[in-house]
């Protein structure tokens, strides 16, 4: 009986919050019976790590052209979740560490709770040794020249699309070309069709597979205005065990442009949560400490 109450309480807690935004610093997972909107809210909550207080990780980006020629970028990212204090959702600091040509380039981003507001972005430019406030990138611009767009990595919000639940399905599996492994075969998923609200956008719809276990969007298919599939995006979500809790974490991504056969792989490592990062590390003064 006690277990039933706990389960019912958990279910109510999960369902009850969806009339409004999800609470910060809490982990949600999708449940049977949820609407497409409720499932997607959880997906965004997880995508931006809003369940945590802070996190840091190393990211390695591989740009692979059809011949196999590969270029690499490495960054260190830190995030502090402000949980709507002063209207700010979270602050990010990304510092490039490889290759030398871009080493030291650092980007400080403040993302606001209000979905209508763009991000505030400051850039440390090593060739000028100077901080510049810059306009937020266009959402459909390539993220660091990759096959991902800016919005696919950092700016897309729940409010940017409308949603239709297609149903529950087992994921057929994805061959992760970087290692050759087949990932997530037969993983139970919710399948959601997302339609952008912006007119004449770079895709007409995308089909998103949401892992029922972690709430992560493990696979996305992008369709153009003629209904032709032109891009796929795979994300590997796992649970990260902490002392008294566990957080869903992305550890690898692969984006394939089916028109050019170019692909981008992002590998995340050394992810650490709730280390007590100081908000002073997300200021312009901190950005100006860059030595490279």
């Amino acid at each position: 009986m006690r277990r039933l109450f706990i389960f019912a309480g958990f279910l109510l807690l999960n369902l009850g919050v969806f009339a409004e935004s999800l609470e910060y610093h809490r982990v949600y997972t999708p449940q049977e019976g949820m609407s497409a909107e409720e499932i997607m809210k959880i997906k965004y909550h997880n995508k931006y790590s809003l369940y945590s207080y802070d996190y840091q990780q190393i990211g390695e980006v591989l740009y692979v052209d059809p011949s196999g020629f590969t270029r690499k970028r490495v960054w260190k990212r830190q995030r502090i979740v402000k949980a709507d204090q002063e209207g700010i959702s979270y602050k990010d600091l990304v510092v490039m560490t490889y290759p030398t040509q871009v080493k030291g380039l650092a980007v400080l981003t403040w993302t606001y709770q209000d979905p209508e507001k763009d991000q505030n972005v400051w850039l440390w430019i090593p060739s000028l040794k100077k901080v510049r406030k810059i306009s937020a990138s266009e959402d459909d611009d390539a993220f660091m020249g990759s096959d991902f767009t800016v919005e696919e990595v950092s700016t897309r919000r729940f409010e940017d699309e409308s949603y239709k639940l297609i149903g529950s399905k087992n994921f057929p599996g994805y061959k992760f070309e970087h290692t050759g492994e087949v990932k997530f075969k037969d993983k139970p998923c919710f399948v959601v069709e997302c339609t952008p609200l912006k007119p004449h956008w770079y895709y007409s719809k995308r089909i998103v597979w949401i892992d029922k276990d972690t709430g992560g969007n493990i696979f996305e298919e992008y369709y153009d205005k003629n209904g032709k599939l032109f891009k796929t995006l795979f994300r590997e979500w796992v649970w990260t065990d902490l002392a008294d809790k566990k957080y869903p974490t992305q550890i690898s991504l692969e984006c394939k442009d089916l028109r050019t056969n170019h692909r981008t792989v992002i590998l995340m490592k050394d992810t650490e949560y709730d280390q007590g990062l100081s908000e002073y590390d997300f200021t312009i003064k901190a950005l100006m400490r860059s030595r490279w």
Partner: protein, 462 residues
């Protein structure tokens, strides 16, 4: 022998280096070769202006969580002078000043950093940068400049680093008071006469000097630098904070000017020879200014735009007065400068940056003489206007990054600089650039109107 060692480093060095090392020690650097080719020959020099080879190394050692040491040496050698080997030309006479790294400039950074939430202290040789403008040094006057290649290189390479103490104290989040104490002094320098980017005024003076000496007269030029004493230290303060969405700074700098100014000290005819006496001096000056920036992040007409600006009031800075091509007086006057910048991304990944600036002289005339350009001795107006436009984009997954910068001033004086960088692989970059100048002979850019340059660069990083 030195050259041989340098060549060996240049061509073999890349294989000797590896990536770092351990958690505390990190390094990076590059070997760079640049060709500067002048595409319009005149009498002063031939096509190859520079064949410059640079070795650069940056080392960071983390002593503890709060303390870090950073070292950054750089050395260059220009082989153009050896290749030409014509010691009778002005071009090759400049080898002494242009052929290799000057004075202590091989040491770009050498400092100890203390960092904490509230207090950062950086002690040692470093650069400090103020202001919001691109390519216009109105507030960016803490460091002296190396203008041997005009304003064409990256600004981080144009600034001459100085030994100083920089303290940054944050009484609260997003607000910082910066204090600078600069006991070191280096004077801004320009290219020697007849070098590819020598200023018109400098060339004219050397020509006049040669003509006088040909007549048996003597021209004396004495340099008076501020003594390297603690009491001659420059000091600066900057308050940085946010007012809503607007970042702003308030700036104050006091000390000797980075530039040295020419003074006429008279003539005499001792020993039956006519002597001309000139001096170059740095004078005490104040700079007071502010800067701001704001990104329009709310929905509306201006969404996506970033507005930035800076203003500087320069008090008691030496100013030249005279007639076209001739300096008659050097007087200390006030100047006001400001720049407004507008940035926006269009068409997905085309970055546009437009700047408008004005340089205002407090006194247009002095004793009947008009204010003149320090570098060209061309006549200036009370208000000088400049417009700059920079457009940058990228192709092939950011492997190819072209950009173009247009600078346009009064009297149809301007420059257009094109640059395209191509990433061959992670550690190898090619750059192709072209600088085209136009304008009147004594315009800031027009003085180089017969001096268009093609620049080719290879950079190997490690």
């Amino acid at each position: 022998m030195g050259k041989v060692l340098f060549l060996a480093l240049l061509f073999l060095g890349g294989n000797l280096w590896a990536r770092p090392v351990n958690d505390n020690l990190e390094y990076a650097g590059y070997l760079k070769t640049e060709f500067w080719l002048k595409n319009y020959n005149d009498e002063s020099h031939l096509s190859l202006s520079s064949f410059k080879n640079t070795f650069d190394l940056e080392v960071e050692y983390e002593l503890s969580e709060n303390w870090t040491f950073f070292l950054h040496p750089r050395y260059f050698y220009d082989f153009a002078y050896d290749l030409r080997d014509d010691y009778n030309s002005y071009f090759d006479k400049n080898q002494f000043k242009m052929g290799h790294t000057q004075r202590t400039e091989w040491l770009r950074d050498c400092y100890l950093d203390f960092t904490s939430d509230k207090l950062d202290v950086r002690i040692g040789k470093q650069q400090v940068v103020w202001g919001q403008a691109d390519g216009l040094p109105f507030l960016d006057r803490v460091m002296p400049f190396d203008l041997t290649y005009y304003w064409l290189p990256d600004f981080a390479d144009i600034r001459i680093p100085l030994w100083m103490i920089k303290v940054e104290y944050s009484p609260w989040l997003n607000s910082t008071l910066q204090f600078l104490l600069i006991p070191d002094f280096e004077v801004s320098r320009s290219a020697p006469a007849y070098a590819p980017f020598a200023f018109k005024a400098n060339n004219d003076f050397e020509t006049w000097k040669a003509s006088q000496e040909a007549l048996g007269r003597r021209v004396h030029k004495d340099l008076y630098r501020p003594a390297k004493k603690f009491k001659n230290s420059r000091v600066g303060l900057r308050w940085r904070s946010m007012f809503g969405d607007i970042d702003y700074t308030l700036n104050w700098l006091y000390g000797y000017t980075n530039s040295a100014y020419n003074y006429s000290e008279g003539t005499d005819s001792s020993g039956g020879v006519l002597n001309y006496y000139f001096s170059r001096k740095n004078k005490l000056s104040h700079l007071i200014g502010f800067s701001f920036n704001k990104s329009f992040i709310n929905p509306g007409l201006f969404e996506g735009w970033t507005l930035r600006g800076e203003f500087a009031y320069i008090h008691n800075e030496p100013t030249y007065y005279g007639t076209r091509g001739s300096r008659k007086r050097t007087e200390r006057t006030d100047k006001y400068t400001y720049v407004l910048g507008f940035d926006r991304t269009f068409f997905t990944n085309w970055d546009f940056s437009l700047q408008f600036s004005q340089f205002i002289h407090d006194k247009k005339t002095f004793e009947g003489y008009q204010v003149i350009n320090s570098y060209t001795y061309g006549l200036m107006e009370k208000i000088e206007n400049t417009l700059t436009l920079k457009i940058a984009t990228d192709f092939i997954h950011e492997r190819l990054k072209p950009e173009v910068l247009v600078i346009y001033g009064d009297d149809n004086d301007g420059r257009i600089s094109f640059k395209a960088k191509f990433e061959v692989r992670d550690n190898l970059w090619f750059t192709l650039g072209y600088h085209h100048f136009w304008g009147p002979p004594r315009g800031s850019n027009g003085q180089f109107r017969n001096n268009d340059h093609l620049v080719l660069e290879t950079k190997y990083t490690f």
